[in-house]
Amino acid sequence: MIFVRPQWLWLLAAVPVCLAWAVLAHKRRRTIAAAYPGLAAAPGRRALKSLCFLAAICALALAAAGPRLGAPEQPAAPVEPAPLTLVIALDCSRSMLARDLAPDRLSAAKALVLDVLARLPRVQAGLVGFAGRAWLACPITADRAALALFLDATTPADAPLGGTNLHAALEAAGLALGAATPGAILLVSDGEETLPDRDAAPRPANRPIFTVAVGSALPTPVPDATGATLRTTTGTPVAAGVDAAGLAALARESGGTPFRLSSDAPNPADGLAQALLALPGPEANPDASPYRGALPGSDTDAILLALGIALLLADWVLAPTARERRPAGLLLALSLLAGLLLAPGPALAASSASEKVAQGLAAAALNDQQAALAAFLAARARDPDAPAILFDIGTAYYRLGRFEAARAAFDRAARSALPPLAAKARYNQGNAAYRLGDVAGAIAGYEAALLLDPDDADAKANLDWLRANPTPPPPAAETPDAQRPGQTPGDQGSGADAPSGQTPAAPQGTDDGSGKHSPDAPPQPGPAADPAKAQEAKVPVAAKDGEKNGLRRASAPGAANDPVLNRIPDLPGPPATPVYTRPTVEKDW
């Protein structure tokens, strides 16, 4: 037996406390009863009540800790950790055009971002640009070339409002991250906010923010659109410094690490990449796994809780005296107990069956057929005649290569199911029979499926093919790993997306005259050539300053290694009419 929430086991400390109270009460009652014999309780009645109460407290405390009987429900195969999702918030205010870094702060920041991303091959990244407002320049994507393209195109000219607003940037980055776990924000800025200080700006919860303070410590003049020094309304030249301390505080507060990009500090790219890689993955967070028993309620919990409530009610109802009402009170208590334990039985069974089915579907989604089968079998133990569960069991057997059992399960499911599911079950029964070499059985299964659902193109194709070549499959094809099931078990209960999940397994569409006679070939096109290789894509470096406008050709960001495709100009962003005016702000840097 294991406990899924062992931290609640300390509640059991209430049991000795209550025992102590019971002993104390017993002593006081005995003292008083010695003086007034009329106040003595019936022999054993108080002890029975105390026992009920103590057992009830015990049951409630155990229920809170969530005991599970049997083998622990751990996935046999480790869950593949989701890669980190990173949103880069890039400061595009005018102060980022200060030339204290070569060639300017913004270009240096872009080069740093590309450098960091090149060291994180599996990370999905998005880009938020911000000045006085923030905008999503590139949604979270695995396409590095596109990200480099959008990064290159993000300039102060795109900003809908001048200034620097870190609050808006963090808000937009949090929105872009959405529910992605694990996620982090990389804030690249010179940090000097131009807006009046807002009190306690809300930050994206649980998202570590890594900050890079860009620029040298000495205030540097900021150029304006024409290249001359930007001046305030009163004519004093604007000099932008770096709020490294503020950014560092922001990073530490959120659980991230601050970094510094300036001419006199070492390049932070390596340290930044290491820090991002060192973020705790989903394995360190047990709640992220669907397997850790965090499901709301479970049958053992509910039974323990019901037992506890019944004992509490019994303790309450039992009269301490043995007067004329004795049999009635005792009977009432016993019937309450029995009723409480029996009445919710079916409801509990049904809910826990669907819970097991959900676990099985989750395991099947992770391609852990053994665990899926165990979960579906457990579900059937709770709800023996549900055709959807039988169908799921058949699918799991099929995927495990146990076609005899799969055929029996599909047969049972088809007997009790409604037509849409029954047709699929018959079809899969035919598939299983074919895998067993029973051509006649397979034909019978497909015919039954077509009888139930005359529009089933897969069953029709398989039937025609089988009638044309009634030969059992070569035994060499019986490799369970290469087989695909007749149907993914997803959503069988609701039957929502039936046709899309139907990837027939056995002799589907192979008689196309191409001479290929491998009925077991999976119908999907092959997987991507080599994921690992594809992810180590070369990230092109940012274009040099001064080449921002005009069409970019090959060797620009977004280029593919194909001379034909590289003739196409890479134009990022929505083809919208440009905005020629934007609101002016007092501090446009």
Partner: protein, 328 residues
């Protein structure tokens, strides 16, 4: 907020009944007193005598609530699997302003119909990365392949006829889509081109682009949008104001078919909104996704409620053993 066993809440109705029954037996009295004057002189008891009863009833109520199993609703399912990388290429040339897409009650422009169909197609494949290329005289990467559906829906809603120029660079659009897909990590890579087929601008022609797509393992599906009849265009005439002009905007079926054939996909003809929906459904089945929704567990409140019940009942037991001892 979800409740696992709502029927258990019926037990709360049993509490008053038991309270009533218990009080009747308790009212029988435990001890006969010869004289009540001293007791009466003490006056009404203070309200604290109700404290143990309230604590005990509250503890029971919380235990019953825990049995009902309330919990925070599970978060959105997580999609597992490789997924499919899809780029939608949408024509923004002038001919897409033709108002010949019949819906049940109204007629909308080709572009509006395509945007709606694309949004529906994207929402039906939540686990796949979908991006957007818009093209006119030039082709633009609007959105790279992403799982972020809200961005895609917004971008689709913002598409305007003529925003990318008056001509049609269909080859460039397909090539750009192939560039975005070339390094996609997905199970398969699919480009869907919505347009009317007459490519008259751009660096490379549609056939070359389709061949490049095939070379990069991208399947090309093409959807010919619009009918062959003269279609209505809403025109803003400088003198006559807004008026409707009928003009032929035929679909170049052959070019689109050739593109699809070279790209290993299929061509669909959509003369109305239903045709677009059919094309979307067909592409859905021809390029199936392996992504599966993994339901996420919610947060159960039952342990906390049970713990609170244990605490309240323990304090009741303490009070009932000391200050509020009941006899017999």
């Amino acid at each position: 907020m979800v409740v696992a066993h709502p029927l258990a809440l019926l037990l709360l109705l049993a509490l008053p009944a038991i309270w009533f029954a218990r009080n009747r037996t308790a009212r029988l009295g435990a001890l006969g007193l010869p004289d009540l004057t001293t007791a009466r002189a003490a006056g009404r008891p203070s309200l604290t005598v109700f404290l143990p009863g309230v604590l005990r009833a509250l503890g029971l109520t919380l235990a019953i609530l825990a049995l009902a199993g309330p919990g925070l609703a599970p978060t959105e399912p997580v999609y597992r699997g490789q997924g499919v990388d899809i780029m939608l290429a949408i024509d923004l040339s002038e001919s897409m302003a033709a108002m010949d897409m019949r819906q049940t009650e109204r007629t909308i422009t080709r572009l509006e119909a395509v945007a709606e169909a694309a949004a529906r197609f994207a929402s039906s494949r939540p686990g796949d990365r979908i991006g957007l290329v818009a093209f006119g005289s030039r082709a633009y990467t609007v959105i790279p392949p992403t799982l972020d559906r809200s961005v895609l829906t917004q971008a689709l809603a913002r598409l305007e006829v003529g925003a990318a120029g008056r001509k049609t660079a269909m080859g460039d659009a397909l090539g750009l889509a192939v560039k975005r897909l070339a390094q996609g990590p997905g199970l398969s890579r699919v480009a869907v081109v919505f347009g009317d087929g007459r490519s008259n601008a751009g660096e490379i022609d549609p056939q070359t682009a389709a061949e490049a797509a095939a070379a990069h393992g991208v399947r090309v599906f093409t959807v010919g949008v619009g009918g062959d009849e003269p279609a209505a265009f809403l025109v803003n005439h400088p003198l006559l104001g807004r008026q409707i002009v009928y003009e032929k905007a035929p679909v170049d079926t052959e070019a689109l078919t050739a593109m699809a054939r070279l790209g290993g996909g299929e061509f669909f003809r959509a003369e109305d909104a239903a045709g677009l929906a059919r094309a979307g459904a067909a592409i859905d089945t021809l390029a199936p996704s392996d992504s599966v929704a993994v339901p996420q567990a919610g947060v159960s409140l039952a342990p906390g409620l049970a713990a609170l019940a244990v605490g309240l009942l323990t304090s009741w037991a303490g009070l009932a053993a000391t200050r509020f001892l009941r006899l017999p």
